[in-house]
């Protein structure tokens, strides 16, 4: 393995790759720092551009965007009390009080150190866990895969949004839309127009669902005010402060790694769990919420700690745990690589290149964050009323360029309107997207399993692994319903 990693190191360490990753990190931080723009949007907007790139640089670009935006979310959280991304919401609790005390620079620096630490540990976990897990996954067949995907979908549906039922409705809508076009045996379904025979491409559906509704929200609800950011002020994090926060940082990183690896959980939940744990175990617990650096260390290390580990189920099992890894799954497929156990058989060199590139991107995140902290503090001033139409232009040009087709642009805009209605009905978008991406695989595995068993559905609960995933899915459903009922009583 070490030899393979060294060979991959040589392949990745080129100026071109470094520039791509640096651009990704910067782009991600910029997008993450703008309130209302999310990491998902950063990754989806970049997707059309990756069509023209080599496979590994394109995935590295998406990973760098993801990491950059996760850190970038903390910039606006600290400076204007508006988290750029949902996972940075926890950073606001202590970041903004520090900014009010004239210590915004200190808070941003602590967020950067913690993000890089969490990110690096997460990448190491990916390198050491993904391959053994993929080896295990090689032994499982269509019924087990089907149940694994059902479990992943149930978890995503349960934790996205406030209602499990609405999450499941969203997943059903995604599964249904994924059936448009040609099926695995060559039959056409829902081909209302000739264009629809080729199905709906991932990029316009995904970008339409996540980018366009934001524009519609701004237009319809006129939520358009810009914010005045705090000055950076006191910048340095002292050695003593760093030592005091180290425990929270390492613990947060581990929480991020574990929660990131479970499909559906994601960085927001990890950040809040880590914050809670840091507060519980800290000597300065009464200072949390008033401007405690340990609080920032805990939340930022945990949310960036998810970045690498969310790739574990994607690479090893071919199952995306959240929307961003869902987009990455699409990017892998565009380049002819199918994530899952066979990826380690067929594209081992590329996998190692990806590992090495991800380690490099942690270092680049630190460099880019340090060098341009002052610049990033101005980004949060860009008003959403200007930013949203710019994003629309990027989407329209990017989507058209993928296949030189107006059909994709129509799908993009239609999905945007559909996504807006989903927002109005409080139906979460994440389960829809994961279901749309997993849909064809889910159906293929189900139909294969039924073909193997000559139509007997009991094959879906015939092995201990299928039982395990089925029990986990039921467990998630029960726990989520109990939590929702409990919340309602409060």
């Amino acid at each position: 393995m070490l030899n393979d990693l060294l060979v991959a190191f040589q392949a990745v360490a080129t100026i071109e790759n470094f520039l791509i990753m640096a651009a990704g990190i910067w782009g991600g931080v910029i997008i993450g720092a703008i309130p209302g723009m999310t990491g998902t949007m950063a990754v989806t907007l970049a997707l059309p551009f990756t069509f023209y790139m080599q496979p590994i640089p394109s995935i590295l670009l998406l990973v760098a965007l993801y990491k950059g935006s996760t850190y970038g979310g903390s910039v606006s959280a600290i400076l204007i009390k508006t988290p750029g991304t949902a996972s940075a919401a926890c950073t606001t609790l202590d970041g903004y009080p520090l900014a009010q005390q004239g210590k915004a620079g200190k808070a941003l620096n602590m967020a950067l150190y913690s993000s890089c630490t969490g990110d690096f540990i997460s990448n190491l976990s990916l390198i050491f866990i993904a391959a053994p897990l993929a080896l295990l996954a090689l032994r499982i067949g269509p019924p087990e895969y089907f149940m694994l995907m059902i479990f992943a979908l149930t978890t995503v549906a349960g934790v996205s949004g406030r209602s499990l039922l609405l999450g499941l409705v969203s997943a059903c809508l995604g599964l249904l839309l994924a059936t448009v076009g040609e099926d695995m045996y060559g039959s056409f379904r829902f081909d209302l127009t000739v264009d629809m025979q080729s199905g709906l491409a991932v990029a316009p559906v995904l970008i339409g669902l996540f980018a366009i509704p934001e524009l519609l929200k701004i237009i319809v609800f006129r939520n358009n005010q810009s914010h005045k950011p705090m000055q950076l002020g006191d910048n340095r994090v002292t050695r003593d402060e760093l030592r005091r926060s180290l425990k929270a940082m390492l613990k947060g990183s581990m929480i991020g790694v574990v929660m990131g690896a479970i499909p559906g959980i994601g960085p927001s939940a990890a950040a809040f769990s880590s914050y809670g744990e840091a507060q519980r175990s800290s000597k300065n617990r009464e200072n949390f919420g008033k401007g405690e650096l340990e609080g920032i260390a805990a939340s930022e290390s945990a949310n960036n700690g998810c970045c690498g580990s969310t790739m574990i189920p994607l690479l090893a099992l071919g199952v995306p745990g959240d929307v961003i890894t869902g987009v990455m799954l699409g990017a892998f497929m565009i380049h002819g690589m199918t994530p899952g156990p066979m990826l380690f058989e067929n594209n081992l060199h590329e996998v190692y290149m990806l590992f090495i590139g991800m380690l490099f991107s942690s270092v680049l995140l630190f460099g880019a964050g340090k060098a341009t902290m002052r610049f990033f503090s101005h980004i949060s001033r860009i008003p959403p009323g200007l930013m949203a139409p710019i994003v629309l232009a990027l989407c329209v040009f990017g989507i058209f360029s993928i296949s030189n087709s107006m059909y994709d642009v129509i799908v993009l805009l239609a999905m945007g309107i559909f996504g807006f209605f989903m927002f109005l009905f409080a139906i979460p978008a994440a389960p829809f997207l994961i279901a749309f991406i997993l849909g064809p695989m889910l159906e293929e595995n189900l139909r294969r399993a039924l073909a193997l068993s000559r139509g007997d559905p009991s094959i879906l609960v015939s092995s201990p692994i299928t039982w395990l995933f089925a029990s986990l899915a039921i467990f998630v459903v029960v726990v989520t319903i109990r939590q929702q009922l409990k919340k309602a009583k409060v």
Partner: protein
């Protein structure tokens, strides 16, 4: 909100199950081996969706279970703005999208994009910064057009109007 939402979901999946699947998912005469037919999966998903919709409606009637079916109050999203104003803004946006799609073949991709961007800047309320908004509306599509057509060799529609006048 909970009941309306449940009904809309039920009707949506019902339309797919009873109208679209019979019309647009034909069963082939020969299916290899014991493979399930192509309509099996969409039917299963639609039935599940319909069941979830009915469940949402049912749960909305009971105070105890309302939280599972209807976790949010719609007025928190809407604020105090009258519904007519919201619908008008939404209608203008959809119209702008439709006009953009319709005008691409006539005016070409570049000019249509400039007009779309202008419309969006007006609708978001940013047009009051006229100079910045005008620069963005013209320069951004132009830069993107040049980037995609020269660097990535994308062939954007030129538009029949421009073709007719020989541009």
């Amino acid at each position: 909100m909970g009941i309306t939402r449940g009904l809309v979901i039920t009707v949506l999946f019902g339309i797919v199950l009873f109208l679209l699947i019979p019309a647009y998912v034909p069963r082939p005469r020969f299916i290899p081996g014991f493979a399930p037919p192509p309509d099996m999966w969409p039917r299963t998903v639609s039935m599940l969706g319909m069941a979830l919709g009915i469940l949402l409606v049912g749960l909305s009637f009971s105070r105890k279970t309302e939280a599972i079916a209807d976790p949010e109050d719609a007025s928190t999203i809407r604020g105090d703005t009258p519904l007519v104003t919201l619908l008008t803004r939404f209608g203008w946006t959809v119209l702008a999208f439709a006009l953009f799609i319709g005008s691409v073949m006539l005016l070409g991709f570049l000019l249509s994009s400039i007009l779309l961007l202008m419309a969006m800047l007006i609708l978001t309320g940013y047009w009051r910064h006229k100079v910045v908004a005008a620069i963005v509306a013209v320069a951004l599509p132009l830069v993107l057009y040049l980037f995609f057509s020269s660097a990535l060799n994308t062939r954007f529609p030129v538009g029949s109007l421009f073709k007719a006048i020989g541009i």
